[in-house]
Every structure is written in structure tokens, then in C-alpha cells.
């Protein structure tokens, strides 16, 4: 069963948010979503300096089988993107909560987010 990390918050669209309030929030997609997508071969991320809006699409993730939109789980300015994951999207499958992170946002407002427990119980993940 796909792993859900307890310290993170999650959106209904399967993005995780790492925010402790001290700096930009890290954002990625959950192992549940990565497993469902299959082997990821392409990722399109928002540009550094652009503003993303919670609940709106800000990129896409393409696997061998399908394409999914990436939804911003928070509102704010993108301050950094993970260049490694752009050149090697398989990192999202192998380490979705670590090396497979996608981008960081200086958050002005969070969208509706779930706790790890709530996300896991809704999506069949394992804490």
C-alpha cells in the first residue's frame, strides 16, 4: 500500500504540502498518486517567479499511461523548482516525498488541505 507521510498536509488532488510556517512550502505529489499514475516520464512545472493559485492547475505530470494536471494546493509565488525532477521524472516514483519534490511556494494562502490521517483514510494510503 502506498505510503502517506504523517508530517505533511494533503490536497484532494493528491499534492502534499510541507509547511512549518518558517519559510517557503515544499510541494510534491503523494505516493498514492504516483503509484496510480505509473512510471512518470515528463513533468511540467510552474516557472520560478510565477504565482500559483490554490485549486488551479499549474503544470502537468505525464506517465507512460496517462497525463494528469498538477493542481496548486496553495496560493503564492513559486520561489524554487526541482530541476532534478524535470530531468529525471522517475524520482517522483522512487522518492515522492524526498528527491521527487516539485516546487516551493512563498505561501500567502493555503487551499483546503487534509491531515495525513484524513488523506490516508480517504485514499487508501498507509501511514
Amino acid at each position: 500500500m502506498s505510503k502517506v507521510v504523517a508530517e505533511l498536509k494533503y490536497s484532494a488532488e493528491h499534492e502534499w504540502v510541507a509547511a512549518d510556517g518558517s519559510g517557503p512550502a515544499g510541494i510534491g505529489i503523494s505516493a498514492v498518486a504516483a503509484d496510480a499514475l505509473g512510471d512518470i516520464v515528463y513533468v511540467d512545472l510552474p516557472e520560478v517567479g510565477s504565482t500559483v493559485t490554490a485549486g488551479e492547475t499549474c503544470g502537468e505530470v505525464e506517465s507512460t499511461k496517462s497525463v494528469s494536471d498538477l493542481y496548486a494546493p496553495v496560493t503564492g509565488e513559486v520561489v524554487e523548482i526541482n530541476d532534478d525532477v524535470v530531468s529525471d521524472p522517475a524520482l517522483i516514483n522512487s522518492d515522492p516525498y524526498g528527491a521527487g519534490w516539485l516546487f516551493k511556494v512563498a505561501v500567502t494562502e493555503e487551499g483546503p488541505l487534509m491531515s495525513a490521517e484524513e488523506y490516508a483514510s480517504k485514499n487508501g494510503g498507509e501511514l
Binding site: D35, A36, G38, D39, Y42, E60, E62, T64, K65, N93
Partner: protein, 382 residues
């Protein structure tokens, strides 16, 4: 939609498969990584559960004549022991299904339709047996799909793996078995002998075998193949890699490239239709007219291969563009794991089907360049 489970469902669950609905069946989509499974089939071997496919026996004195009437190909010309890829068409030439027929005797054929079409094909055959001639054809049509499992071993190591389960005196039956031929061989599972129908056919573009086995013996055979195959790099392989493998090999998938609305000529399957056979057959008039009108050669749309230089792939139903105008539609597409670039099959207006023609695929609002190429994308080294 009805939920059917193959006799190997528990094996798949145990192996950690994710499942998908396909043709009304819960089938393994992948076990761990569909890319790893794809590469295993190209470089070593993969084990597939294809028990969702249909199996329909057509037997009786009129079997050959009946299939000549019911299908688009000339099945009477198939030698006993050989198989033939064919189509079952409507009167208007539309494709009801593509299928493989194995001639198992003078008066005996095993017809294998796709999962989602098995019941429709069995019913159409039964109906055509009655309505096809005065008094009906002297044949029996028996749908044994529900009690028959189908296991495929595909990849360059398939033969070596098979041989480990076949007694030495029958090895020659396996090693001499030609592509698109089938033979009964003795396969030993846990000390018990089973005489099973072994076919050298597949849907991956690699060498490989398909084994027809009664449901009650399927799990034992599956486990035995996994165990003996492990040393040859065999891993279980799901429908996701089956789709990427067949796409690279340029093989059509019913529902994507083939449909009742399409026709064999546009799909590049003109040679499968035997207009020359002496007997009448269902669809003959319409197919003759389509061919005479130049379907797929001078008029209409034709199925082509497309390849792109980027990383983003065209997917089913994406528009194909020439100078911003829609000139076609993608039927299947994805990044090719073997070739490393995106490939697609698409129906395209006939004037844009020459290999080398530059076209675009509308990838969710952005036109990405692709080029028409000859099919298949991938051909194995022999």
C-alpha cells in the same frame, strides 16, 4: 459493467498487482513498474494472464466453409496446425472484432476474439451458422471462454523457459513450432502432466507463446512458469506494458484503431480481407466497394504511425493538425519505452500519410511537431 475475475486473480493480488477494468474483467494493469515489465519482455521474458480473451470452438463438416463465410479471411486455406489473423465484419464492412483462428483439425477451429467482444463474436458466429445458407451450416459453435484460461510467455527467453516444463522427447515440438502455429504439448506442473495447446503467437512484437489451459490448472501453471522463469529474467507483466509493447510493434487494438465505424482498408488491414475467395462472405459487397473506391489508399483517412522529437506524447482522441487545421485523430499514443521518444497511431487524411510528412499533435492546446513514419515503430532483431 459486469465484474469478471480470471482464475489467476489471487496470484495477481499476491504479486501486488494494481487492477483495471478491461472488457468487463478485473485485470492486472501492472505489478511494480510497467516500464520494468516492458523492458523485461523486450530483453528477457514476461508472463501475462490473458484469460479475459475469448475462446470459441467451431467444429463440424462445414467448419472451414462456414468460417470462410463468417470471417473476412480465407480460413479454409489454413493448414491444420497453423493459425490466421482475421476480422469478423458487418455487412457494411465495419469491424466487429479482430481475432486469431487456429485450425486444430480438418473440421475443427479455435477462434479467439477479444475479451470485450467474446460474447458478441460467439453470438454472431452462432447466428451466421444458421442464417448463412439454406438449412444452415453443419457446424457447432461452442463458447468455452468461461472455463478456459490463457497464459502468455513473451520475450526472447520464452522458448528456454517453456522447455523446462516440457519432457525432453517433446522439446522438438516447441523448438520447431513456427510463428502462427500451434501444437499440443505435454507440460509438467508439480509432477502432473497436462496436454495443453501451445501457440507461437503474441501481441508484443517479441517471440513468445500462448498456452490455453483449463481454469482449474491455470494457477499451477502460472506458479510453475514464474518459478522456472525467474532464472531467465521472467517477471509477471500487466496490461499497461502489453499496450506499450503492442503499440511499438504497430499492432492495432480493438476499440482504439479498429471499430464498427472503421474499415479494414483504412486500418491497413486490406491484405487480411480475401475478396478473391470463391465463396460469399459477410461484408463482401461493402468491402469490394470500399476497396474499389480507394478507401485507405486514395480516399478517406488512413492509419499511420507518428513519432515526435520531444518528450510529451499524443494520447487517444487528440487532434492531429496540419498548419493548424485538424486533419486527423490519435487512436493510441505514449512515450515508447524501447525507443525513448513518443509514438502514436492516428487516422490521418490520406494526403498527409506519406512517411516523412510533418504534422502536429494538439497536446492539450499546444501544437507539438510529429512526423509520419512507417509502422511498426519497433521490429525485433531475428
Amino acid at each position: 459493467m459486469s465484474e469478471n475475475y480470471t482464475a489467476l486473480y489471487e496470484q495477481h493480488k499476491k504479486a501486488g498487482a494494481s487492477f483495471t477494468d478491461f472488457g468487463g474483467w478485473q485485470m492486472p494493469l501492472k505489478y511494480e513498474s510497467e516500464l520494468a515489465e516492458h523492458h523485461a519482455v523486450r530483453n528477457a521474458a514476461g508472463l501475462f494472464d490473458l484469460s479475459h480473451m475469448g475462446e470459441v470452438w467451431v467444429t463440424g463438416p462445414d467448419a472451414a466453409a462456414f468460417l470462410d463465410y463468417a470471417l473476412a479471411g480465407k480460413l479454409s486455406a489454413v493448414a491444420v496446425g497453423k493459425a490466421k489473423y482475421s476480422l469478423i465484419c458487418q455487412e457494411d464492412g465495419g469491424i466487429i472484432d479482430d481475432l486469431i483462428s487456429y485450425r486444430r483439425g480438418e473440421d475443427k477451429y479455435l477462434v479467439v476474439p477479444n475479451a470485450g467482444n467474446a460474447a458478441v463474436v460467439a453470438a454472431a458466429l452462432a447466428e451466421r451458422a444458421v442464417s448463412g445458407k439454406e438449412g444452415g451450416f453443419d457446424v457447432t459453435v461452442e463458447d468455452v471462454s468461461a472455463e478456459t484460461s490463457l497464459i502468455a510467455v513473451q520475450g526472447p527467453n520464452a522458448e528456454a523457459i517453456l522447455l523446462t516444463l516440457v519432457p525432453a522427447e517433446q522439446h522438438v515440438l516447441v523448438t520447431e513450432l513456427k510463428y502462427y502455429a500451434a501444437v499440443e504439448v505435454r507440460i509438467t506442473v508439480n509432477g502432473t502432466d497436462h496436454d495443453l495447446l501451445l501457440a507461437r503467437t503474441g501481441y508484443t512484437g517479441e517471440d513468445g507463446f500462448e498456452i490455453y489451459v483449463p481454469n482449474e490448472d491455470a494457477a499451477g501453471l502460472w506458479e510453475a512458469l514464474l518459478e522456472t522463469g525467474a532464472g531467465h529474467g521472467l517477471i509477471p507483466a500487466g496490461l499497461a506494458c502489453r499496450d506499450s509493447l503492442r503499440l511499438e510493434a504497430g499492432m492495432p487494438l480493438y476499440g482504439n484503431e479498429l471499430s464498427r465505424e472503421g474499415n479494414p482498408y483504412a486500418a491497413g488491414l486490406g491484405p487480411v480481407v480475401s475478396l478473391a475467395k470463391e465463396s460469399d462472405f459477410i461484408g463482401k459487397v461493402a468491402l469490394s466497394e470500399l476497396k474499389a473506391a480507394g478507401a485507405g489508399s486514395t480516399t478517406g483517412r488512413k492509419l499511420v504511425g507518428l513519432k515526435g522529437p520531444g518528450r510529451r506524447a499524443g494520447r487517444g482522441h487528440y487532434p492531429v493538425l496540419k498548419d493548424g487545421n485538424v486533419v486527423g485523430e490519435v487512436t493510441s499514443g505514449q512515450p515508447s519505452p524501447t525507443l525513448g521518444y513518443p509514438v502514436a497511431m492516428a487516422y490521418v487524411d490520406i494526403e498527409f500519410t506519406e512517411p516523412g510528412t510533418a504534422l502536429d499533435i494538439d497536446l492539450r492546446g499546444k501544437a507539438e511537431p510529429f512526423e509520419v513514419v512507417a509502422l511498426p515503430f519497433y521490429k525485433r532483431q531475428k
